[in-house]
């Protein structure tokens, strides 16, 4: 076997230019594909992370009717949670949230706003809310933290007074006057234009819903490991008027847009692979055509066609491996760099992203699966294309080959 490998390796380097050209074309496709997949997966992870942290959690525990009819009356007493044992190594943390809607008014301006009653201390760790503070003080006992866009629309600054009017628990009037203690800037445009954060107890008091929460949002170690944990929590919630939902169930639009984008990306990759496939096939074609005489001699002196096929297969493997390795080595430092320094979009590109409700950045994912998937894809293509040289060797006629 060592001689076969030695022979194959030396054969690979017989035509150095051709080997470098083929390996480079494979390397380029792997490089491009890895970068593309990394930015795609990075964007998805970022979108899922943002949505999970600010809205739903990877899993959300609600009163059973809440998701169908998201009103304050479908909230539940947080005391019910204290009776549950939700400790699990897959669960990073959970936070209680009470959410509702109200009219926010300042001076002669009024806007609709989404109210979030949260534990500010826990939320700082869960959604990094404190990091979004761009002005004022995060820790407030009775004031509110306002999204920058909404604050600008209402012409509000830190220290100004905001009036909230809405409907409380079981139809009671909810109205209150609060001091703006901080301004928050969110990566998600929808939040930036309408969110108001209050301490949980403050909102419970405004809505006349003491101890009530709309949801208990849970963050998992792995955002994709939702079904298993959902089943686990469902057993814990058995017999209670509470249900658990995954982020995929709560954010179907996000799932669809990710899927659409993912398959769109694959279409581009397939086009790339087809182009590269022709290049690889050209090399295989030459590999056989140029060496028909030589392969005939090997068969003549006693090397079975099967052994000739093994030798050529090793050559193909080495050539493809070289290209894939080069591509991965080229892509790794760039992915590493952009993984720690996401591309920040500005200008029209940023506006376009925000218009679609996305954070205007291109984050990259660092995941072994990216390299593995691209490497395997190229190997599968090469394996498929290798059918030609294998068949050509099988059908080799010694006398005809010796006349080449």
């Amino acid at each position: 076997m060592i001689l076969y490998i030695k022979l194959a390796w030396r054969n690979v380097w017989r035509s150095k230019k051709r080997t470098w050209i083929t390996a480079s074309s494979i390397a380029f496709s792997v490089f491009f594909a890895c970068l593309m997949q990394s930015s795609q997966l990075g964007s998805y992870e970022n979108m899922i992370d943002n949505s999970a942290r600010f809205f739903t959690g990877h899993l959300g525990i609600h009163q059973v009717d809440f998701w169908e009819d998201q009103i304050i009356d479908n909230s539940f007493d947080q005391q019910a949670l204290f009776e549950l044992d939700l400790t699990n190594p897959s669960i990073l943390m959970g936070v209680p949230r009470l959410s509702s809607f109200a009219l926010a008014s300042h001076g002669d301006r009024t806007k609709g706003a989404a109210l979030f009653g949260v534990s500010l201390e826990e939320e700082a760790a869960f959604s990094y809310l404190e990091r979004k503070l761009i002005e004022g003080d995060y820790n407030t006992e009775s004031g509110v933290l306002m999204a920058a866009g909404l604050a600008a629309n209402l012409n509000l600054n830190v220290g100004d007074t905001l009036v909230l009017m809405g409907q409380g628990y079981h139809g009671v009037n909810a109205a209150g006057k609060y001091t703006v203690t901080g301004i928050l800037k969110f990566p998600i445009p929808a939040l930036n234009q309408g969110a108001i954060y209050l301490p949980l107890e403050t909102l419970q008091e405004l809505l006349s819903a003491p101890n009530m929460i709309s949801s208990y949002s849970i963050l998992l170690e792995d955002s994709q490991d939702t079904e298993g944990m959902k089943a686990h929590i469902e057993t814990i919630l058995k017999g209670k008027e509470l249900g658990v939902m995954t982020w995929q169930e709560m954010l179907p639009d996000l799932v669809s847009s990710i899927e659409l984008d993912y398959y769109g990306g694959w279409v581009i990759l397939i086009i790339l692979y087809v182009v590269i496939g022709f290049g690889i096939f050209g090399t295989f074609l030459m590999m056989i055509k140029e060496r028909t005489y030589e392969l005939g001699i090997l068969n003549a002196i006693g090397m079975t066609k099967r052994r000739v096929q093994i030798m050529v297969a090793i050559e193909i493997f080495l050539l493809i491996f070289l290209g894939v390795l080069m591509g991965v080595l080229m892509a790794t430092p760039i992915i590493l760099y952009f993984w720690s320094n996401p591309i920040l979009l500005s200008g029209d590109a940023a506006l376009a992203m925000e218009k679609f409700g996305y954070e205007p950045i291109i984050p990259f994912a660092l995941n072994f699966k990216i390299f593995y998937n691209q490497g395997i894809s190229i190997f599968v293509i090469a394996l498929f294309l290798a059918i030609y040289p294998m068949l050509a060797i099988k059908q080799l006629k010694i006398i005809k080959a010796l006349k080449e």
Binding site: I297, G302, K305
Partner: protein, 227 residues
């Protein structure tokens, strides 16, 4: 002892359209230790006959027995295995594996035969010595002269310990000095080790050294002499 026995051997090309008899009803036997030259004008069928003896081509009629074994009915893979074990080949264009050194070319056949490393090493060293190319052992074919390459080819053919060696125009690309040196080696191997050689050749220098000369014209044996 007969190593080769051909009975009424024919090779017909285009049998269903315009039949061409490249070999016509050849009956011939070669004994162990012979040094035989198959001669004749270009296109007389020398190479075709050699190819059929070597199991590279199949006959249209007649039979080929090698060491008492009929190769006519063998499958392609059986023939390949048979060639590996029993027949040595030397080609006009040397046909060494260009990416292997002289020594590796010789050992290649033994690797195919699954011979153990120690035996392989001893045998290749011995062959390199006998061919007088020990100093060139680590050179690739492109770094060797034509004569040296053909000596490596002979060593490769002998490495498998074949029943006989088929050499198709082995001196056609060699200068006089290299031809004489190669013939000396082959004649010595024939004389001392009773290795059977069968050549197809035009070369008078080879014909002069042959112990048996078979003349072929239009695919038929017209003379078979032992000068």
């Amino acid at each position: 002892m007969k190593v080769i026995e051909l009975k009424n051997l024919s090779k017909i090309y285009n049998p269903e359209t315009i039949p061409v008899r490249a070999i016509n009803d050849v009956t011939l036997s070669v004994k162990e230790g012979e040094f035989t030259a198959i001669v004749g004008p270009s296109g007389c069928g020398k190479t075709t006959l050699l190819n059929m003896i070597g199991g590279l081509d199949i006959s249209s009629e007649g039979s080929v027995d090698i060491g008492g074994v009929s190769i006519n009915e063998m499958s392609e893979s059986e023939l390949t295995a048979f060639r590996l074990q029993h027949i040595g080949f030397v080609f006009q264009a040397y046909n060494l594996i260009p990416v292997l050194t002289a020594k590796e070319n010789i050992e290649f056949i033994m690797v195919l035969q699954n011979i153990d490393a120690k035996t392989m090493q001893e045998r290749s060293d011995d062959l390199l010595d006998r061919m007088g190319i020990r100093n060139q052992r680590d050179r690739r074919p492109s770094e060797l002269s034509g004569g040296q390459q053909q000596r490596v080819a002979v060593a490769r053919a002998l490495a498998a310990r074949p029943k006989f060696v088929l050499a198709d125009e082995p001196t056609a690309n060699l200068d006089s000095g290299s031809t004489e040196a190669l013939l000396d080696i082959m004649a010595k191997l024939n004389k001392e080790e009773k290795i059977t050689f069968i050549f197809s050749t035009h070369d008078q220098r080879v014909i002069d050294r042959a112990k048996r000369i078979i003349k072929l014209v239009d695919g038929e044996i017209v003379s078979d002499e032992q000068p």
